[in-house]
């Protein structure tokens, strides 16, 4: 490549980096600028006293608290369901699957990764309807159905990040424990997976973000505008992205639209908190396995 081409490439890389950073600043700044005024205890708890709401003594009306709890539970349930399956599948694909089986599994995996969320939502809805008609009249679209559908939506992120980070470990690292008399399972548990935690974590973070922001799946599988706190996993629930969606499409006053911005900021904070939690857990695991005496 000639010198001009090299300079252009460097310039392009810089512009890309700067664009990325400025877009993030623009979106977050815009949200805060518009929505910070809307954020107060009344937005979250309505007319109920915060302590009563937090201790679940009183219901919250006209506040975001049920939607926050709904989103939080949804994310924790979905990622909680998807993570073990995703980890195991990723480990299988990276360490065990070979030849034809590996090709076939990878093919199905690619199909799963390309299914649009609205299709997954529709499938979840059909399952709920089927169960309602053939199994129990008590079953409606609910938190559990939503979580299951979402976990299928985010499974590919977790599988792929686990698989790729395991596969990218150098041969040197892979052979170390084996040469010292470790079995394959020991090698995976004690060396390979702990070594890949950063990559696995980035997949989990993507999954958390995806579960927190998705509206298509939950709209069809159990979210409602007013439900209060979900009474069980088999009950309908509220969620922040759905609230933002319907407020911004049906607001009747500027004040009401403002609450949508407030809800967006809260959604962002919930995601950040979950990321931070995942990061701390990772640090903790690494310290525990690699440095703690």
């Amino acid at each position: 490549m000639n010198r001009l081409g090299e300079k252009l490439l460097i310039a392009f890389s810089w512009i890309s980096g700067i664009t990325l950073v400025s877009v993030v600043f623009f979106i977050v700044g815009h949200l805060i600028f518009k929505g910070i005024r809307a954020i107060n205890l009344k937005l979250i708890f309505g007319e109920t006293r915060p302590l009563d709401a937090l201790l679940l003594r009183k219901q919250v009306f006209h506040g975001l608290f049920p939607a926050m709890m709904g989103t939080f539970l949804l994310v924790v349930l979905s990622v909680g369901l998807a993570a073990p399956v995703g980890l195991a599948s990723g480990i299988y694909l990276a360490e065990y699957a070979q030849g034809k089986v590996r090709k076939i599994v990878n093919f199905f995996f690619d199909i799963l990764a390309t299914i649009p969320s609205i299709v997954i939502g529709l499938t979840g809805f059909s399952v709920a309807v089927f169960l309602h008609q053939h199994y129990s009249k008590q079953i409606y679209p609910c938190l559990l159905i939503s979580s299951l559908s979402l976990s299928f939506l985010v499974l590919p992120y977790i599988i792929r990040s686990t698989q790729v980070s395991l596969e990218s470990l150098p041969l040197n690292t892979r052979l170390t424990a084996l040469a010292l008399g470790g079995t394959r399972v020991q090698n995976i548990l004690y060396v390979l997976v702990p070594q890949s935690l950063s990559g696995i974590l980035s997949g989990l973070i993507l999954a958390i973000g995806r579960c927190a922001e998705d509206t298509a799946v939950i709209m069809l599988t159990g979210v409602v505008a007013t439900a209060g706190l979900p009474r069980s996993v088999l009950a309908p629930y509220e969620a922040l992205p759905f609230y933002i969606y319907y407020i911004s499409s049906e607001y009747s006053s500027p004040e009401e639209l403002l609450t949508g911005y407030g809800a967006s900021i809260i959604l962002l904070i919930i995601c950040m908190t979950l990321f931070l939690f995942a990061f701390i857990v990772k640090r903790r695991i690494i310290w525990q396995t690699f440095y703690h005496l």
């Binding site: 040469a179 010292l180 008399g181 004690y190 690699f290 440095y291």
Partner: protein
Amino acid sequence: MNKPVKIRTTNLCFSYYNHPVLQDVTLQFFENSLTAIVGPSGVGKSTFLMTLNRLWEEIPGARMKGRIEIKFNGSFHDIYARSYSLPQLRRAVGMVFQVPNPLPMSIFKNIALPLKLAGIRDRSLISYKVEQALKRAYLWEEVKDRLTDSALKLSGGQQQRLCIARALILEPEVLLVDEPTSSLDGKAASVIEELLLSLREHCTILAVSHYWDQVKRIADVVVELSNSHHQSNIYHHQKPQPV
């Protein structure tokens, strides 16, 4: 040499993706001696070491034929026999790689890893063995006050001695060493050489080396591998015992 035979290989053939590397290699190695394996690059020296702990089985595209027997507890065992336990073999046949490969964990955890893999949980026994292994590898004095530091903070020579200590902690009867000093400076290399000489009384050492002067300093027996017309040729050089 009148020491008893520890390892014998018979008609060993090896290939990567049908490309032959070793052809018909028949050799013997003696107990408590240090055998240097020399020869040009690509002749299969490292591969040969990996046939002795079956590590090549983890590498895609590799195939082997032939027979390898190692004497454990007074009798020869075919290490490729179906009934032979692979982890047990690799505990008895330790290996040190060309590039030091400490894992990104504390010094202590690195050395204790083989014990963990062997299922040993007794903490005081682990501490004792870690100290012994570090002492045998001439590393104890340098690291005893920072055992919880990351092993990656050590210098190259220290890392290689750490890897030797890690291989020694299970008290292997055979130690395979693949160009242990190739990534080190002269001073660190001579420490490793001295260390290998001192280990000879505990185990049978097979060391791949590129440097003839090093071979002259440390080896009891020299085996030269060369490759011509897809044929592995073996030359034995007997050396008088170093004084």
